[in-house]
Symmetry: C2
Subunit: 387 residues, 2 copies
């Protein structure tokens, strides 16, 4: 495997959009191509990360997007792994380039769901879990994470007010992210008084349904040096881990941890020869506040049962010792399913290049991204270093 | 890139099934695992090829299938590239193993569409083309291939009776394939008199909607030798090509060739150091009879405008100088979209191991598979050799 460089990354604003998936994908892709200082014709192959484009009556997004970029000969498959589609696509591009198949690839994640009513959109989300045994039996997607939250509270004494702190912090971070879906400062009291969605989770514990797209350009070391000279600092993928977990929650002995996160994190750390202390910030999968708490425990940033306390103490804020989700996370930056894992990479690109403005993590050099499929049926973790 | 071996392949019968996609996928996967002489725990990662599982209210098939195999920790993404999903997934597994990421992977393609009425199923197929500019304007999927057929007839004088010969031959081949969807001997006269679907294409020019699954197990040379000893003959992937084409037909200067097929074929042949004369038989993408004619021209088996004549002369029959679709092809073996490209590999496995019974191509040692997405928005070609 050759070294693989994150040459560029860019995104649309997340939120409700009048654009279709193809248009959102083209906007993000073109921004990333321009930011890379490249032409579309430099791209040799691509991956599209998407989960629900059939709801727009369109599959086979690759040729549509590549044709829109003026490079129809360039192959691009769609990769779907529910909410972890983006990171899964990134990983496959990393492998393609690492193996020497291509020198320059586009990964574009996209989702368009705002044409669906809320009940339909929620039902689509539950297609990521084991629908026959969960969704069809009445366990909505928030309901499954509600069960996970209740388990964690029972086992570790985690409190609803501590979960609310996650939402407050991520909303605060999103205020300085112009691409975030939600720009709304909230308080613990407001979270606690927001409507219950699936007890103990409330509206403000939950990420929004977002439209949006994010694109990343990966390339070989040689390609990067030819493009920008050999002296520039670049962002390298140092580790990539990926693992699965049971599709349904009832198949698990314990719901307070996602085994896919533990395994994927371990693989990425081992590969990178880095440890949690080396990570300057992480973008983790916080579809619900409880998910961020469990993610930071599964990745080893905090001991079991300690993450909620760390959130309460402000250790995960920008400026804390483990900044988590400086972008605002899925919770406030938004969660356009296929785009989410690629959008995390955009934050890595901005932060590691010192371009994150008022949400900049000081001297950020090493970052981790963690992207979960549904309730942990899949997970991909990546570690990046500027060097 | 390391050498990659096709260790096993197996499929369900194609046709109408009462099983769900997850069940079909498990049946094919377990058959392939047993045929490989392995245990599920030997599998380190997988890809699922699928296009329409959302119609069954299920996405994120990877964890569902891996959980069903008793190996929930094993990661598996879904790859969608319309009708070429299967070969796209195979290619990514080839790259993963070639790069040394994994030593043993499962690729399982699956589709379940028989719960949809015919109009809905036809509409789903058109989601693989450029729906806004084609399907939504009334150009059904058969209609697009009808336009392609008409172009080819106008340019080369191809005759409807010659296209009918493709159907007759593939139905004949399928008679001796126990897994084929259609077991029905037909005549040119019957094809010509069958109902017009999209002029000049008739019902018997068209593949059926099939349910079904097919699975392949790929592994590294070292893994294969540890499993079966170092003296056995094996099937190796000698070439893999993949390319894109415009999503919509109106974006093309010419509709008598699929540029994605030309480019993917060229890449696979160059990589393999083999030529058309070395190919003992090919499984090509014949969703409509015209598609087989164009495929064999795009791949260089016949000169432009000569393939229909070759079909008429029987050169593509088992026993001819270029046997095409000994399995019965999409036309008669069936076309469960996500499974199709993997099902072609099952035929390669059977034929190259001499296990194709009465449809055996004599002394088959080298085979080619050609799998197209929709009207040529994507294509993947693979070349296999027993050695």
């Amino acid at each position: 495997m050759r070294n693989v460089c994150l040459q560029s990354a860019a995104m649309t604003k997340y939120g409700k959009s009048l654009l279709s998936a193809r248009e959102l994908a083209l906007v993000a892709s073109k921004k990333a191509i321009i930011r890379a200082g490249m032409a579309p014709s430099d791209i040799e192959a691509g991956f599209v990360a998407n989960a629900f484009s059939l709801s727009e009556k369109q599959g086979h997004l690759g040729p549509i997007i590549m044709s829109g970029l003026g490079i129809p000969d360039v192959p691009a498959s769609t990769i779907e792994s529910a909410c972890s589609s983006g990171a899964s696509a990134l990983r496959e591009a990393w492998i393609n380039i690492g193996a020497g198949i291509y020198d320059c690839m586009l990964v574009v994640g996209v989702e368009k769901v705002s044409q669906l009513d809320t009940i339909t959109a929620t039902t689509y989300f539950s297609f990521g879990s084991d629908y026959i045994f969960e969704g069809a039996c009445g366990a909505s997607f928030p309901g499954l994470y509600g069960s996970i939250a209740r388990s964690h509270m029972n086992k570790y004494g985690t409190k609803e007010e501590q979960l609310a702190q996650v939402a407050v912090k991520n909303h605060e971070n999103a205020l300085s992210n112009p691409n975030a879906h939600l720009h709304k400062k909230i308080t613990v009291d407001e979270v606690m008084k927001s409507p219950v969605i699936a007890s103990p989770l409330k509206l403000f514990d939950s990420c929004p349904f977002s439209d949006g797209a994010a694109a990343a350009i990966l390339c070989s070391e040689e390609f990067a040096r030819n493009l920008n000279g050999s002296n520039s600092e670049r962002i390298w993928i140092r580790g990539s881990g990926r693992a699965g977990g049971t599709g349904a929650l009832h198949q698990r002995a314990d719901m307070t941890s996602l085994n896919a996160s533990v395994l994927a994190g371990r693989e990425a750390f081992e590969q990178s020869n880095l440890g949690t202390k080396d990570i300057d910030f992480a973008e983790v999968h916080d579809c619900f506040t409880i998910a961020e708490v469990i993610a930071t425990e599964d990745l080893g940033f905090f001991s079991r049962g300690e993450a909620a306390k760390a959130e309460e103490e402000g250790r995960t804020r920008i400026g804390g010792d483990f900044p988590i989700n400086p972008s605002g996370g899925l919770k406030a930056k938004g969660h356009p399913v296929g785009a989410t894992g690629v959008g995390q990479i955009v934050e890595v690109f901005d932060q590691l290049h010192g371009e994150a403005e008022t949400r900049q993590v000081k001297d950020a050099r090493v970052a981790l991204t963690h992207n979960v499929g549904a309730t942990g049926g899949s997970c991909a973790v990546h570690i990046f270093e500027r060097a």
